[in-house]
């Protein structure tokens, strides 16, 4: 890997966001509206104090954390789509750039996006609803890192599909991640799922993160095991997905698809 090539792609995206208001809005608009709606739902539910309140205080945090995963995924997929939209893919892949360097750059870009959106949401939650995400404490750091990686896994998967099936698969960039939401147990504990779905959910790193988060908030122990599972699953999945991306890349070169996407 060559750093200057990764830096070149990052620069390209920074130029893009520097100038494009719609793109910047896209990062903040939806998460912010989500936050407002859930904030009011939370205020409403707070009226029924007692047993609910534990779950209720979790909502806004869960929302912010889910958005981290979503933005991490988008950071990868949208970066690839930007190259399709501007008919730039061939400029990149007929240069010395390697697919792994391309992925590394999109990952870096996704970290920028996640950082931007997190800051806004954390501040907004605090200002409007006096909600402080940091009640989760130091656990937040490993949780967030794992959510970012979980987002990358879905992002690399979606990107491979778009590369292979072309712009018709573009909707996956926004839709794919929601396929995983029910089994990520973002807003409810895993035990509400039917047994067979629970079994599947345990293979989803995000489910471990959100379960772990609930453990911390309910003060029912230290979520070390969940963290270990999430990390291990993430490492395995990300490795597999990067391998799959490279495989799809070579399939696309074989079939001459790489240079035809977007035509």
């Amino acid at each position: 890997m060559k750093l200057h090539r990764i830096a070149a792609l990052i620069t390209r995206h920074l130029y893009l966001y520097k100038r494009s208001l719609p793109r910047v809005m896209e990062i903040f608009y939806w998460p912010f509206l989500d936050l407002v709606i859930w904030g009011f739902i939370m205020i409403y539910l707070m009226k029924f104090k007692g047993e609910l309140s534990g779950a209720v205080t979790f909502f806004l945090g869960a929302l912010i954390l889910w958005d981290i995963l979503f933005r991490a995924q988008q950071g990868i997929t949208i970066s690839f789509l930007e190259e399709i939209w501007s008919r730039n893919l061939m400029n990149l892949f007929a240069s010395p750039l390697k697919p792994s360097e391309f992925l590394a750059a999109t990952m870096a870009i996704s970290i920028f996006k996640v950082a931007a959106v997190s800051i806004i949401l954390v501040v907004a939650a605090l200002t409007f609803f006096s909600y402080n995400v940091f009640i989760i404490g130091l656990w937040l750091l490993p949780f967030v890192l794992n959510l970012i990686v979980a987002g990358w896994v879905i992002g690399v998967m979606t990107t491979s599909l778009i590369m292979r099936f072309g712009q018709e698969a573009e909707v996956l960039a926004w839709g794919m991640v929601f396929l995983f939401q029910p089994i990520s147990c973002v807003f409810y504990p895993i035990e509400v799922l039917p047994q067979w779905l629970q079994t599947i959910a345990w293979y989803n790193p995000a489910a471990h993160i959100f379960e772990g988060m609930r453990m911390v908030l309910n003060e029912s122990g230290r979520p070390l095991l969940h963290l270990a599972w999430a990390t291990a699953l993430n490492v395995v999945y990300l490795t597999l997905m990067i391998g799959w991306f490279h495989y799809m890349f070579s399939v696309c070169k074989e079939r001459g698809l790489l240079v035809r996407i977007g035509e």
């Binding site: 070149a8 620069t11 130029y15 100038r19 501007s86 730039n88 240069s95 070169k253």
Partner: protein, 242 residues
């Protein structure tokens, strides 16, 4: 004679059952403009895409600078570049920003100076700070040419570089390419289905038809061999024979 810049042997590309390139062999010599001429669908673009490593050949060998493309992709691509009508550049960036990104991508040193040179050479001063989205098609063509020569390639691939230009711009572009070749000493591999353009530009020509080379040589040699007055007549003769 100097060693060839690029050497292609028995190159084949099949898409499913369809053979787009069918056992093509040729070489590009140092400093020459080699024209690849053929009707639509002959396989010109596919050949260029294979030489740029974005389409994998079904069979055959591609060597550039004495290295095998399949094994030395990075080193080879560092020394070549391309332009064509079917690519563009990020619309939301200015011309200058786009060139800066390309400079970084190829790890150029002294990028601002290189950009100044190229902008001057291609007479791009007046739209250098314009958004790429707002360029006319002639300006966009100049930008993609600029990105191609910015990296000072030893071998430049051009796929129908003048196809979207009006006659005046096309003429200017051709003079420019000849000038670039002269001043930088690069080899150019050029496709077109425009015979006049080929006659004007190329030192040597490869005639491609349905994925096969049907004639190869200098314009004079080819026209003489086929007993015709110009390339167009040769082309028609060959096309009708088959």
């Amino acid at each position: 004679m100097d060693a060839p810049i690029a050497e292609v042997r028995d190159l084949v590309k099949r898409f499913g059952d369809f053979t787009a390139v069918d056992g093509v062999s040729f070489e590009v010599r140092p400093g020459e403009i080699l024209g690849l001429l053929g009707p639509n669908g002959a396989g010109k673009t596919t050949i260029i895409q294979m030489l740029l490593g974005v389409v994998t050949p079904t069979a055959g060998v591609i060597q550039m600078f004495g290295l095998d493309l399949a094994r030395h992709r990075e080193r080879i691509l560092q020394q070549v570049n391309f332009s064509s009508t079917y690519i563009s550049m990020p619309y939301a960036l200015t011309v200058e920003e786009n060139l800066r990104v390309v400079g970084k991508l190829y790890g150029l040193t002294d990028i601002p100076r290189r950009i100044d040179e190229v902008v001057k050479k291609l007479e791009m001063e007046e739209f250098r700070n314009k958004l790429t989205r707002k360029l006319s098609s002639g300006q966009l063509t100049r930008l993609t040419l600029a990105k191609a020569i910015l990296t000072d390639p030893k071998l430049l691939f051009l796929d129908e570089p003048t196809a979207s230009l009006d006659p005046d711009m096309a003429h200017k572009t051709r003079s420019l390419l000849k000038e670039v070749r002269r001043s930088a000493g690069m080899s150019i591999f050029y496709t077109s289905h425009n015979m006049r353009e080929m006659e004007e530009m190329s030192d040597r020509i490869i005639f491609l038809q349905r994925g096969k080379i049907v004639a190869q040589g200098s314009v004079e040699a080819i026209t003489r061999r086929y007993g015709q007055r110009d390339l167009e007549e040769v082309f028609l003769k060959i096309a009708r024979e088959k």
